[in-house]
């Protein structure tokens, strides 16, 4: 390992910590939003569901980078200012939250109607059926895709480098700007680091999928 690589290491580790920080914050928000919207969508009549569906189609249809730039560069013109970290977490959470709500709704809908009918026959109310019968079973089916969603968030968190968040990729770039000889070793390091994070996560997601089905 050469000397300049060693000097780069502390800033790379700080970048890695920031990557985990924004990815975890976005994941928490996405899970919360995913449950709220997904449960709501599975319960409301079709007419009330339409605005929710439109919001989800918007959030997952727009390129994440466009959303992030809008939140960071566009909103200040409309009088709202966000920090780069805040804009990055918000954009990731909106995008991942829309995917998360589909995971939750899909899992709830996939629980056999007989479960609901049996609960109704036992005299359980609508909310009791949802929280005591349907959701506990649906949770198992949500787990693998939610694990996979975290890998997607980590991968997508690299976009935050483009609005100046010093996550892992941005600290790689800053070090290379200082010393261009680091280009090949540091970009290779970045590939290896992201692979080392995401490969086990996607393996875990696949294993869970197999063992729970």
């Amino acid at each position: 390992m050469n000397a300049s690589f060693a000097t780069a290491l502390p800033s790379l580790l700080r970048g890695l910590a920031t990557t985990f920080g924004i990815a975890s914050a976005a994941m928490l928000l996405a899970v919360a939003a995913g449950f709220a919207v997904g449960i709501l969508r599975s319960q409301v009549p079709r007419l009330l569901d339409l605005p929710l569906l439109a919001a989800i189609e918007f959030a997952r249809g727009i390129p994440l980078l466009v959303l992030m730039y809008f939140l960071f560069f566009g909103l200040p013109q409309l009088g709202m200012r966000a920090s780069s970290n805040g804009a990055a977490v918000a954009a990731l959470a909106i995008y991942a939250g829309s995917l998360g709500s589909e995971i939750v709704r899909g899992a709830i809908v996939s629980i056999a109607a007989g479960q609901r009918e049996a609960a109704a026959a036992l005299g359980l109310g609508r909310l009791q059926t949802l929280f005591l019968i349907v959701l506990p079973q649906a949770l198992r089916r949500m787990l693998p895709p939610f694990v996979g969603l975290f890998a997607l968030i980590v991968e997508s968190s690299t976009l935050a480098s483009l609005i100046g968040v010093t996550e892992l990729l941005q600290s790689v770039r800053t070090n290379i700007e200082r010393d261009n000889a680091l280009s090949l070793p540091l970009y290779t390091t970045a590939l290896v680091a992201y692979f080392a994070i995401n490969y086990p996560i996607s393996l875990a997601s696949q294993r869970l999928e197999k063992s729970l089905s």
């Binding site: 249809g61 466009v66 730039y69 566009g74 990729l169 280009s183």
Partner: protein, 216 residues
């Protein structure tokens, strides 16, 4: 903003070109990779698996930077690997989305019931003809929804090419913003263009799925 229209239009055309080349390339990579994944040669299977896992588990933005900035720095062969930004960016998109296609098509091939291959084999079809006439047509049908999602994902990811200076629609928009400083409305306009394209692609694939289902 009106003055920016020609530049944005050129950017949009470039976005469509990158998306078309990327989609075609990713399908070729996906088909080749899936064929290797189910081949009888163990080295071929291992190589295809390594390629797939590496490129779908690393961020496309890092791949694009690696191709554009790091490859030319390889001692000896590096200078020959200096790619124009639009080429490096498109290859990056092809590798990432192609690796995902490998996984989609492999899963599709494995989802075809084993009886189909056995019946084809009993009819005396060669291994290649089994794939060509029996397995692949059914696998593609099974894979269609996931392939459609991946095409849409590639289209959305074309905005990443702007990060190495390519003036696609998003790059052109940012270039304009740097000159005239009206970012909010420009981002909204550009966002709507992407949303409409994604909506059209979604409708196209739903129609394809319907046709494939009817032909069954």
């Amino acid at each position: 903003m009106r003055d920016a229209a020609p530049q944005l239009a050129r950017g949009f055309v470039l976005t469509l070109e990158i998306a078309a080349a990327g989609t075609a390339g990713a399908l070729v990579v996906g088909a080749l990779g899936a064929a290797l994944r189910v081949s009888q040669s163990r080295p071929a299977r291992v190589a295809a698996t390594a390629f797939t896992e590496l490129f779908r588990n690393t961020p496309p933005l890092v791949q694009i930077y690696f191709l554009f900035f790091a490859l030319p720095e390889i001692p000896g062969i590096g200078p020959a690997l200096r790619l124009p930004s639009v080429v490096a960016a498109t290859i990056g998109l092809i590798l990432h989305q192609g690796a995902i296609n490998v996984e989609i098509l492999r899963a599709g091939l494995e989802a075809v019931p084993a009886g189909q291959r056995e019946a084809a084999s009993a009819l005396g079809l060669s291994r290649f003809d089994q794939l060509r006439y029996v397995l692949v047509p059914q696998a593609v049908r099974i894979s269609l929804p996931a392939l459609g999602n991946n095409v849409i994902s590639l289209f959305k990811n074309t905005v990443l090419v702007s990060s190495i200076g390519v003036l696609d629609l998003f790059g052109a928009a940012n270039d304009t913003i740097a000159q005239i400083l009206v970012s909010a409305e420009l981002f909204i306009t550009v966002g709507i263009v992407y949303l409409v394209c994604v909506g059209l692609l979604g409708a196209l694939f739903r129609a394809l799925e319907k046709r494939a289902a009817l032909a069954r």
